[in-house]
Symmetry: C2
Subunit: 737 residues, 2 copies
């Protein structure tokens, strides 16, 4: 047995080596619980999967790889259906599965699956059944999740299918491999070596997405590059589509509205021009000849310098329908982004892109940016083709730590609305802060629009049930880069995971998803899970508190959005300035969006307005989103607004300190490399939380003229110091990585 | 035993998982040879290392990690010196080692070590002894190399010390994490998260360098950024220096000559100005206060748009001595680059940097660029301070597949010359071609300058022995990025490895180094080694043949240097144009550098001139470097020059096809992931070799008017097609990754 112990030891050492995060939540390491291990080993002795398609082949390989890693069993194939076997397939691939589905009159649906323990006489089997091959793959991943999270697999009966049809990652990746708002290294798409070089990462990316039910990916930045649609790049896109296809993932591209002029040699890109229509039709034919299941286009038009139909005197509907008509014959869709604001400025440098503010001298007064998406699109409701989805960011401004839901969700019954969440933490500490976003996603999805009275949650708008839309979608702006662990911060993986799981089933709770992810990614140890889950669930409120408590928003550093800069007032547009959003003055702070102010509140249903339009009854989470409030205003806690602001900023810092302490107790449960990485990152997060608190309180104090109560830690640096900080190479913007 | 087999299987599966190349040549996987495994296991039961310093601690950890991985032995510490123990240390750390060195009257020297089998009575031990801690670490890595390459460890007697003092990597890494001429992803230096976040990569980078004896690293691009020298960045540099210190690696920076104006607020950077001198003195004091063992500066001045002393009417010596005087009190050195040419053009965009050519309209006629470094620096011999090294690229132009050695190596006896090799394959197929560079390095180091008569090899200039220089150095421009496997192409690791090994001992043969690397990186299987070594040793001549045979040079694509573009004639400077270098016309092809031409040959010693100045006797490898030769010229083979050119280009393609066939036979010996990766890359290499051959022959044919002999594969595309290719996002230039 001595040599055996050597192997054990060696195995352990290799395990440690392997723990660099690359394997995400698909580590398939040996089950630790001895009772369950025995159960799994005895229940999983044979398998039967007819690999009649590429999808069924990858399903089989994943199942065997998972079972081998988790149980040590190298299980044998069986033609028949031996005792202790696992049988997976569709009616088309397996007569057994056909009988099974018919007998139970089961209809898993387009992507759904059934996992069931099945006993006939002495034989006990596990069945993974689906109507289509992709359902089998999803079922296999769901089954492996049971083992990875150490669930009992006796008497299984699981039936699952996705609530939303298109579950898509949006990559803001540029052709030069920089990633706009990316904080995890370079783009994983190596355009130079495609199509001939297939990086193992492309395959593992597809596996990771399929494991959580993500079924689409937009490869390129919404600040688009026409070259993407030229022949050499379409060959590269085809190579990726071929890799992703077996995993049920469709490829989408961003289309630049001006492409017909830039690469088509036309004199216009007017969406009503016959030549332009024809050019896009031909372009779609060219794409579908290479990629028969191409998903369609995501388009950012007439926003932040991107060209669009309004440049030709046309509407967003004219623009979207141009693409819709070209894609329709092939079954493609258009995802038209509602993130547009005042098009009077067209000179934005696209390099600085999404949500950018840059000092370019004289500001142009703009309407309340909060209102612009609604004002642009509400009148167009009903004017879009059937294969157009309007992609709306969760909030009215831009991925802030907390936003009220966008009023559009309650305002366009005739148009399928697609949710756009952001996984990359542009305004949430970027690559170095632990912020678990599921609570943010849920807060928006659960919010009631009252569009059809009480119970008209945003989720029911997105899943099409509220207004009977057959086409539905949800998008997450990816936080993926070529860092070894994919997301830079190890906990960034949880946001990728949570997006996929909630896109499949938004009824899952943040706590459930966090536990699932922790068990698969780190350990099934109960002490570890309890502590790490608490950290995750506390993290989102922490970042709200140390960055933008009580409804403050968009007071981040100019352009790169890194760190606090509430003092900035010289950006190129009024609504690029933090001062525009907090409106702090001697009288108070906050943006009056009541009828007395910009009246943005009027864009919501009356019941929603009621929640927010009175500063005395308004949920304090949203207070400064809708009201300009005196510094001495008495809050629910009895504190003045100023004292409450001091309290919240300090509470945010305290939470991060608590997160650090909690994490530092967990070293026994996590491999050294990932433990240390997270420990160091929490150190940065604390430092930056203090920076946020001090900079913001010192600045707002110049208006409130009130003291920071002595019971709180006092700023150790001056406002002048914080204002002096410059970050020329902050990542995620203008070619910086 | 069943469970034992499960462990074995599981271990194997984990092994495969781990084989993504991240671990480089330090995999420490189980020794396969059962006889040697037994030998190692019985000889390595105990260890004795007093960890009286950080360096000895990492030496101990590396030794234990290595022995455990390679043999499975978890060996025990011994205070005494049991039988079958390994004892490592210095006279200061170990009385045993002191006695051992005294008894043998051994003097390993500053960085050297001794590895010796030592028997007293019944006790048999292995001793790793050094005068200094770093020697112990080098000895530990050398000992682990013996085990990794499956050498007998009975009766060891190894004494080794480096021939060259400064063995340095040059990173052309920018602060935004793009890497100039980098083809392996982004910079591994994450400036944004430094100094608080220490990536595991920084530690593994230090381990890898120490394992091959590299003892210095220049962190930043020679096209320098003054911000590097500001306080926040110096804190980041200090954090890296602290990580590297235990591994004997000193940190260096590039200094921008104009920094006193850009960040110092001075009105000039004139090297003779007192304020400027003082500014640099203060800056050095500031740096050394943070990094007591800071190495010094690498400086590119008055070259390709970089500012320099000539901008102030001063000489390169004035410039270099400015820094030398500021560094001298702290023991730092200046590495002043000799890569300079015609400074009449100062408007180059530094973004496009090293070796760049860009179409900017009217070309400026320049002197033969071949001659310029010599003309600039020869007159300055003897005018540099003692702590200045002149860093000279191996060839007179710019890292071409083959260049004659730079004439400077034979021309500056009073100045210590430092070799600059390029590991990153800017002109050698970049990230996708398998090109083992050791033969290129050796060809240059072995070349005889005849500076002091026969036997004055370049190596003896570099190691200081020819002209008795106490300070010596060699630099390699790094091919490292944040790709998981560090170098993009798995065989790129071999060039990093070979540079280190040859910098330590240039007497090693290319074949030896290749075998060492293959054994550690892939397998000790003899069939595998024989085949893979053949591929490596053939690869450099292959790339010469399919890119630039017979002495052709610098006919690569404009700016990005990707692919062939011998037709380019519109670059901003005459000597940025390929046509300037090949001078093809109806009469023939090649650059006449004899007395009848530019007379660059006169820069060499007479004996060297004799080798090359007669086109009938000139080594045909260098023919077109020095002669304009008629198309019909009769070559040694009896072929005409044109036919020989056709033969060579086809021979290059054939070699790559042979390399592919050879590799495809080796799948049984390599894990699937790395095997497939290399297989795909060889496919790209063949495609691009054909591209090179066809494009060059079709273009040169427009002058030769001769047919490509029918026995050769005929081009399948037209010259117009090849000329039409554009690569806007070729990696390694202008912010592209």
């Amino acid at each position: 047995m001595k040599s055996c112990f050597l192997y054990i030891f060696l195995m352990a050492s290799l395990c440690l080596k392997a723990e660099n995060g690359y394997e995400l939540w698909m580590r398939y390491v040996r089950v630790q619980n001895p009772v369950l291990l025995k159960q799994y080993q005895s229940a999983l002795k044979y398998y039967a999967i007819q690999t009649t398609s590429a999808t069924l082949s990858v399903a089989k390989n994943e199942l065997l790889k998972g079972i081998e890693g988790l149980t040590g069993n190298r299980i044998n194939e069986t033609q028949g259906t031996e005792n202790n076997s696992i049988i997976a397939g569709t009616p088309a691939s397996s007569a057994f599965i056909k009988r099974f589905l018919d007998a139970g009159n089961y209809h898993p649906g387009k992507e759904g699956y059934i996992i069931q323990s099945e006993k006939t006489g002495s034989k006990s089997r596990i069945v993974i059944a689906a109507d289509n091959d992709i359902g089998v793959l999803y079922g296999v991943f769901a089954f492996l999740r049971l083992l990875q999270t150490e669930q009992n697999i006796h008497d299984l009966f699981i039936e699952s299918s996705p609530k939303i049809q298109y579950r898509i990652l949006n990559h803001w990746d540029n052709l030069n491999r920089t990633v706009e708002r990316g904080y995890a290294g370079a783009s994983i798409w190596n355009w130079h070596t495609l199509p001939d070089y297939i990086d193992q990462r492309y395959i593992d990316y597809a596996r990771a997405n399929a494991s959580v039910g993500i079924n689409g990916t937009v490869l390129t930045n919404v600040n688009a590059n026409s070259l993407t649609l030229t022949a050499p790049y379409l060959q590269k896109v085809k190579a990726l589509a071929d890799v992703f296809r077996p995993y049920g993932i469709k490829v989408f591209l961003t289309a630049k509205f001006s492409a017909p002029e830039e690469i088509g040699g036309l004199k216009t890109a007017d969406p009503l021009n016959a030549e332009v229509k024809n050019w896009w039709r031909q372009k779609c034919n060219e794409i579908y000849a290479l990629i028969p299941d191409f998903g369609g286009f995501l388009i950012k038009a007439n926003s932040e310098g991107q060209p669009g139909p309004q440049g030709y005197g046309r509407t967003h509907a004219d623009g979207a329908n141009l693409f819709a008509d070209a894609l329709a014959p092939h079954g493609g869709i258009v995802m038209w982004r509602a993130f547009v604001y005042d098009v009077r400025v067209q000179n934005t440098n696209e390099h600085f892109g999404e949500g950018h503010q840059e000092a370019t001298g004289n500001a142009i007064a703009a309407e309340d940016r909060f209102k612009q998406a609604y004002d642009e699109f509400k009148p167009l409701d009903g004017k879009f083709r059937k294969n157009v989805l309007l992609q709306v960011k969760n909030g009215p401004i831009d991925f802030q730590p907390r936003e009220p839901f966008s009023p559009l969700f309650g305002a366009m019954p005739q148009t399928p609305l697609m949710m756009e969440f952001q996984l990359t933490q542009e305004y949430l500490g970027q690559g170095t802060h632990l912020v678990y976003e599921a609570p943010l996603f849920k807060e928006c999805l659960d919010a009631d629009t009252y569009a059809k009275g009480s119970g008209s949650a945003v989720a029911r708008v997105i899943d099409g049930s509220l207004n009977d839309h057959p086409v539905t979608g949800i998008a997450g702006v990816a936080n993926i880069g070529n860092d070894i662990n994919w997301t830079g911060h190890p906990f960034g993986q949880a946001n990728w995971y949570a997006f996929g799981r909630l896109a499949w089933d938004y009824h899952l709770s943040s706590a459930q998803v966090a536990e699932e992810w922790l068990r698969q990614t780190f350990s099934n140890n109960k002490i570890f899970i309890a502590a790490a889950q608490k950290i995750m669930l506390a993290s989102r409120e922490a970042v709200v508190n140390y960055m933008t408590p009580l409804g403050l928003h968009h007071i981040m550093g100019t352009g790169h959005h890194y760190g606090p800069a509430p003092w900035v007032d010289n950006a190129g547009r009024a609504d690029w300035n933090p001062v525009y959003y907090h409106k702090a003055d001697a009288a108070g702070i906050g943006f009056d969006r009541t009828a007395a102010g910009s009246n943005a509140l009027a864009q919501y249903q009356p019941e929603v307005q009621k929640q927010w339009n009175n500063r005395s009854t308004c949920d304090e989470k949203y207070l400064l989103w809708f009201h300009h409030v005196p510094w001495s205003f008495k809050m629910n806690t009895g504190r003045s607004l100023w004292d409450e602001l001091c309290y919240k900023y300090n509470a945010g810092v305290d939470s991060v300190r608590w997160m650090r302490e909690q994490w530092n107790r967990l070293n026994a449960y996590v491999d050294a490399e990932r433990f240390t990485s997270i420990k160091l990152l929490l150190g940065i997060q604390e430092k930056e939380a203090v920076w946020w608190r001090n900079a913001c309180l010192l600045y707002f104090q110049t208006f409130s003229k009130m003291a920071i109560p002595s019971k709180y830690e006092q700023p150790d640096k001056t406002l002048t110091y914080y204002k002096s900080l410059k970050f020329l190479y902050a990542p995620g913007i203008g070619g910086n990585l």
